[in-house]
Symmetry: C2
Subunit: 357 residues, 2 copies
């Protein structure tokens, strides 16, 4: 029996509520498919840890996590206790960078039984993935303030793109597009306004095109692209974007399918030199935390992406199928959570999915 060691980090807010539901579904799947999953839970990367230690992570976090095959992550952020840019840069964004998880992969699709905000769209109409660059670009911590507290106060922040960093995520995206049935890659740019880094991004997209003759490539400026996500979500197959644009698109996409509270994301190191990290797109949601009503589907769907990454595509597909089945029952037949017009709790919906597995 293959044995996988998984580091579990519930984090903050509803992260702590949905992670147990996610683990239950993973355990059910593992026992059905005869997989050995071993879970170790950590309390760092949370506001509580910050309150006790004044840092988000212990100094040996890197050695600790390095030995695991994957990280199963809830959500981090609790602005009442620690400002978001401190908690995020002190944990999640650290993990992405230190473990070189340079691809952030986020599927967007209309699910059966989930009501989206767009008129006249049916499951099957919308089914694309966003491939986000996850380690450089606009999320650099280079910069600072000068003339502080005066009228001349000026604040600078550098966007950094490297050939290595841009090319590797583009390659991953091209490969995804080559593998999927539509063979269509869309690049997010803003080369008409962001006139130094974005024309470079466009050049690298064009430079790689010859290596993937079967892939149809187009590009949109980010302003036109967000508009098209709303107006023509059926146009897209694989969308590749810089760190910031990918962040924006991978929230907008699930919003358009009504699955913002249900969408998963994978922070992947494709070379497997480091553990990859799986976390739902939703955050710690302080507004509903503590009430036991958070939707656990995103966290459970993350488990499916993690199984796929660990080399168990069948188990992954089975778990995703169980989610879809339970959603398709609808709020009268299944204990769906309030965001899905149901009356179920996090635990009840998690249990229903685990049972279905």
């Amino acid at each position: 029996m293959t044995q996988h060691r998984i580091a579990v980090i519930p984090g903050d807010g509803i992260g702590r509520e949905v992670v147990p539901a996610g683990l239950e579904a993973l355990e059910a799947t593992a026992s059905r498919f005869g997989l050995g999953l071993e879970f170790d839970t950590f309390d760092f990367a949370s506001a509580e840890y910050w309150q006790r230690h004044g840092t988000m992570l212990p100094s040996d976090w890197e050695e600790t996590l390095r030995g695991y095959d994957a990280i199963y992550f809830g959500a981090v952020g609790w602005p009442e206790v620690v400002p978001d840019h401190v908690s995020l840069w002190g944990s999640l964004l650290q993990f992405r960078r230190t473990f070189d998880q340079y691809v952030n992969l986020r599927p967007c699709r209309l699910l059966p039984g989930v009501r989206g905000p767009l008129a006249g769209r049916e499951p099957g109409d919308i089914d694309f993935i966003v491939v986000r660059e996850n380690t450089e670009g606009e999320y650099s911590s280079i910069g600072g303030r000068i003339f502080e507290g005066t009228e001349r106060e000026t604040v600078l922040q550098e966007t950094v793109m490297t050939r290595v960093g841009v090319d590797r995520v583009l390659r991953f995206a091209y490969e995804q597009a080559a593998r999927r049935p539509k063979n269509h890659l869309t690049s997010a740019t803003k080369s008409n306004g962001i006139s130094i880094t974005m024309p470079y991004w466009d050049e690298r997209v064009a430079a790689m095109q010859g290596q993937f003759p079967g892939v149809r490539v187009d590009k949109f400026h980010i302003d036109a692209l967000v508009a098209n996500f709303v107006l023509h979500p059926d146009w897209f197959d694989v969308v590749v974007a810089s760190n910031l644009f990918g962040d924006i698109l991978s929230d907008l996409g699930p919003a358009c399918t009504g699955t913002l509270g249900l969408a998963p994301s994978a922070n992947i190191n494709p070379e497997r030199d480091h553990p990859s990290l799986f976390e739902p797109v939703h955050g710690s949601a302080p507004d509903i935390a503590g009430r036991g009503i958070a939707n656990p589907v995103g966290q459970i769907w993350c488990g499916s992406m993690m199984l796929d990454h660990l080399g168990h595509p069948e188990a992954a597909a089975h778990l995703l199928g169980a989610i879809e089945d339970v959603l398709a029952y609808g709020p009268t037949e299944a204990p769906l959570t309030p965001d899905l017009q149901g009356k179920g709790t996090t635990a009840e919906l998690g249990q229903a999915i685990a049972d279905r597995v």
Copy 2:
């Protein structure tokens, strides 16, 4: 009779088709309200000018335009002839910066007779404005490339925020919010990820709050905000954003109301030290240019914003009313363009609105 001198710059593509329709509607309004409008048309800021001169603008453009009370602008950009970042930085983005048009104002609202992509929304449900910073931020041209053509190739671009630049646009937005019935200001941020400039933006928003005790202020990270534009467009009243975020939001907003081809924008220098510039949100649209079917409503609506800025709010409201009336007739009664399910041409729709005035 007050006399206003207007510089007219049709630019590229459909800009040349919608500007004449816009002028006709303006002339009809001027004659009805006894306003003296004098128009001078310029051929620069276009790909054709670039082909003849190798620059987008004549060297004396600044003196030429400085004497006008406003600039009535079509659209610029024709990537087959000149790369977008060259044409835009060589014209429109120059105007914004040189004439210190530091506010870009874009109304988003559901109009009668216009079908939007969101399910179950009615005119009145969505009615907000985006106030975009228009001179600094992410649109800086500071940066460059090093180690070109090698594996170490690295590209940097600086985001620049100044206290003066941030505070003046925030003040304008607070004042708008104070004046509108809902007194609600939403700030777009990303301080959890863009960890130097965006926390600064948040600080300045908070620092000004005390001066506007009647205004309710909230903020969203840009990823959550784009999602909320789709999910809860009724939440917003005045949305203030940095240059890039404002660009994204002011395309997404009109997309959500189905008015992307109809929305106007005003590039304003509130102190009136320099001419302000009025241009539709849509671009030069090479895909439909030359066919005479572009929707002129955005350009005509720009005329209304321009009249308001020139101190004629009644004439402005009358012109906007004429637009709304003609749209409300619907495609069977009025010569609406194909984007509005009609069979009208640009000229016919423009004529119908001018007649209605």
